[in-house]
Amino acid sequence: MKILVCISHVPDTTSKINFSDDKKSFVTQGIQYIINPSDEIALARALELTEKDGGTVTVINVGDNTTEPTIRKALAIGATDAVRVNAVPRDAFFVATQIADYAKKNSFDLILTGRESIDYNGSLVSSMVAELLSLPSVNSVKALTIEGNIATLDREIEGGKEVVSCALPCVVSATEGMAEPRIPNMRGIMSARTKPLSVAEPVAAESMQQIVSYDKPLPRTQVKLIDPANVAALVDALHNEAKVI
């Protein structure tokens, strides 16, 4: 089985997010980057599937050369090879166009992405890739098994789950539960240095959306502390002051 895993290079979850004074750009100074957490889940499942049934796991990232340490980490975790599409990811459509182009030229049985990236939270790339390739897709998948040519998946829905099935090839976005993320071991880190990481040039994609400015949420006003011996005061405040009950 040939699996393609799409990985995004995102600020570490502990990052404090700050913007330039004109609010137009995200300040990257001092930010550590990681593999997007749900993409790590997708990668872990891809490795489990190929360890069981044989096959290869290719990771793809759209980014400039600053993303290479993140890609090398995916190789250290166990991916077979990697490709970086050499461009700053402008928006989800741009990224999806690059991934779809690569996937079309290299045909995969399964394309895995994370549920959403923790920077722009679009949840867009996965289904866009599927649509561009005219493939079926299933989102927010917390369990994925493959028997022969058929994938069986648990898809998250409000207040429950749906069990669905689908013939390969298909596009799947992973969420918690699908697999435990893996930590690279020493051998993985050593071997990642020599694993193939190719660089592809981007194809054209029109941009139809643009971020014009950023803002941060307003800080909350000082917390009102309520005496634990007088919990009734909390109920009263929630009803009469906050008006939420």
């Binding site: 939270n121 789950k161 918690e176 909350r220 917390v223 405040a237």
Partner: protein, 325 residues
């Protein structure tokens, strides 16, 4: 602008998000001069379709046949794209729900549309189409400008107030062209805890953290949630330890929610947790450590042991409900 509102249903009834979507669409249409068409797919009760009219849809399209009874994102996106073309929609609005998030990207490709995912406010349509959306998992907002002819917006649940009016909308049957290749995904089973309030849509959420010591102590969380008509949630270590299901995990790597009231019990308030809940309107924190970072991000706080405070809170809520019913 003509607006197409895709409305979600469950068990034949409009979801709460559907009313938000129509109200939001109606506000865009009245702001820009245009009409709202709503579209629902699958089994929906006739009176529920009529209800869509009361929230501002001039016309309500209903597409149904054997195949559309189950949600299949590829097929649903095709039907909505066809409706968008038929109604000459300038904007298509969906909920930023699991289903909306699965359909919207496909629609964007089909309609060559720019997309604003996770919108939290009405667009600024003076000289363009600029809209505020969440970014960095609740740590920030971004204003995004859509420059395409057709635009797609997914609206965060609970971020727009529903408004009912006296209007009625005409309900019409919509017969889409359906291709078999759109039904490559087969739904085999739907597993739902139907007695529970769904977390993404809940107006009140009671959440527990590692401070609750073990899964056996969630009885009081559920009791409080039940009394308040709230959904239950938890911090990441709690679901990682399998004390609670992953679907309850809120935060940067879990669900992002924006209820009216979020009650955090025994949760320290780590940056990743706060990211997912900080857009809640009112936050209450119950924690025995006065230095817990969550108190800095809360509106009301009680410094105390959850095992003493929560049972008292339950009694007070009971008294409150008795006095106000």
């Amino acid at each position: 602008m003509n607006v197409l509102a895709y409305i979600e249903t469950a068990d034949g009834k409009l979801k709460k998000s559907a009313l938000e979507i129509i109200s939001y669409s109606a506000a865009i249409a009245s702001q820009t001069g245009g009409q709202v068409t709503a579209i629902a797919l699958g089994d929906v009760q006739a009176d529920e379709l009529a209800k869509a009219g009361r929230y501002g849809a001039a016309k309500v399209l209903h597409a149904n046949n054997d195949k559309l009874k189950q949600f299949v994102s590829q097929a649903y996106a095709s039907v909505v794209a066809e409706a968008a073309k038929t109604t000459q929609a300038d904007v298509v609005i969906l909920s930023n729900s699991f289903s909306g998030k699965a359909m919207a990207p496909r629609l964007a490709i089909k309609l060559q549309a720019g997309i604003a995912d996770g919108a939290v406010a009405l667009p600024d349509t003076a000289g363009g189409f600029k809209i505020k959306k969440t970014a960095f998992s609740g740590k920030a907002f971004a204003d995004v400008e859509l420059t395409s002819k057709v635009k797609i917006v997914t609206l965060v649940p609970n971020s727009f107030k529903v408004a009912e009016n006296a209007a009625t909308g005409a309900v019409e049957v919509f017969n889409p062209q359906i291709s078999d290749s759109d039904f490559a995904v087969t739904v085999k089973e739907v597993v739902k805890a139907s007695d529970k309030i769904s977390l993404p849509e809940a107006e009140i959420v009671v959440s527990g953290g590692r401070g609750l010591k073990g899964p056996e102590n969630w009885g009081m969380v559920e009791e409080l949630a039940g009394l308040l008509g709230a959904a239950t949630a938890c911090s990441k270590p709690v679901s990682d330890a399998n004390w609670r299901p992953h679907s309850e995990h809120v935060g940067q790597t879990g669900l992002a929610i924006s209820p009216n009231l979020y009650i955090a019990i025994g949760i320290s308030g780590a940056i990743q947790h706060l990211a997912g809940v900080s857009s809640s309107k009112t936050i209450v924190v119950i924690n025995k450590d006065p230095e817990a970072p969550f108190f800095k991000a809360a509106d009301y706080g009680i410094v105390g042991d959850a095992f003493e405070v929560v049972p008292k809170l339950i009694e007070e809520v009971k008294k409150f409900k008795a006095a106000n019913s």
